[in-house]
Subunit: 291 residues, 2 copies
Amino acid sequence: MIAGIELGGTKTVVATGTADGQVMEEWRFPTASPDETFAQITGWLRERGTPGDIGIAAFGPLGVVPGRANHGQLLATPKPGWAGFSITRALAAAFPSARLTLETDVNAAALAEARLGAARGLDDVAYITIGTGIGAGILSGGHLIHGALHPEFGHLKVPRMPGDSFAGVCPFHADCLEGLACGPAMAARWGAQAADLPADHPAWNTEAWYLAHGSLSLLGIVSPARIIIGGGVSQASGFHEKTGALLEEIAAGYFTPLRQTPYVVAPALGQQAGIIGALLLTDRHTGPSNP
Amino acid sequence: MIAGIELGGTKTVVATGTADGQVMEEWRFPTASPDETFAQITGWLRERGTPGDIGIAAFGPLGVVPGRANHGQLLATPKPGWAGFSITRALAAAFPSARLTLETDVNAAALAEARLGAARGLDDVAYITIGTGIGAGILSGGHLIHGALHPEFGHLKVPRMPGDSFAGVCPFHADCLEGLACGPAMAARWGAQAADLPADHPAWNTEAWYLAHGSLSLLGIVSPARIIIGGGVSQASGFHEKTGALLEEIAAGYFTPLRQTPYVVAPALGQQAGIIGALLLTDRHTGPSNP
């Protein structure tokens, strides 16, 4: 039996399925305390059998590199009760023989879109999500990128849009990419939620400017063959085309990968990307990961 | 017999040595036309034996992903005579049974510094070089990053230093990172070569600002455990400390990898990084790469 878990800040998804990403049965429920949430997950799974493989896509910051002391642990998250909680230990207590494979939610979504979604067949893909914050998952040469921790894409800096004097909302950096372009930044700039701003509102030009510059940084550092932009604040009609056109303009003919069009696209798997990614992870188990 | 080749825009190095990066014998000479240069390389090697493995670190743009049609080829380089030249074909003609492993010069230098130099023992390392241009090689989770082409780090954009109105020298983008901070940009800004600017000249504050912001983009995208800055325009005393301090300031306590200090360092292998990296590549052969 193969299981997938998507652990989000507000909702959790647990599923049974296949290592090639087919969901057989799934349950979505609000994320509660760590103990309660994992009791619900393991209880639901136990009713269905004993999983041999479990793929987990979780919010972060999270120890994702097998062999490091913090592997499987939630790190310095502001979410009450979760900092220091070991996901792998909780699952190993319930299913001692299961093989666990753990990833950040954005990396799992990047993998799912690369295998079954908007970047099908590509091995070099970046997946940006814009919501309460801005994050990115990266598949590079078929490997998911971790680095020393894992990327905190939203907190890099890009040039200001000419004439933009908005202070930014990031409590650490004020005007980093996230501080200028996340959902709360849009709400503070325009006095309305992103979902309520019409597609021809100037807000989307500003948003496209910052996302095009963030995409240019991805191009210069990991050279993806396609960039997917998802998340709640990306759903205005024409937003991906606008961002792609601006990216092409600022790239000024320089970056070869841009010749593949469309280069900036919407996700194809929508809300399912995380749980599909979690199932796909079970095929990428690289060694003992139980605590 | 194991051979390494470093093919640079102005100089070429050919060596015999070991797969763990020990140079036994090497020859440096000016890079000429493709045919002439490769006749010199293969002639020198033939006098010493028949290499079973050859690692090649070359300038770019370059097809580096095994299995792609352009593998082993110099792509749209402005260097006269080199665009379209197949390095792997030239070497396979001379040594049909040799296994060839090919990388960009910056990736080879990143690998060499990670194995034997300033980032010894780390699997997540970025190597920035500042000279005529600005480039970066990246080792991530032990894998060298290629992406759809390979990173063109110098051409991403970062915020202007407050008060800086220099137009930039990049013929494509004017004020991309390379346009604002490469060697020719320094010369145009200050009317002197970088090597002639004293360590307390304000030029180095400007240079540190741009490199700190470029480093922040690396942190946000590949989360390296250490960043090495090399190349001709990085040798002023205190430049790495200055860049590291500024990076810490703009990161504002956010990025965990920065807790490892020093985080921004000078290379340890100097001029030898490329050829040592070429030898190390012979240990990373992943499949048939002869054309």
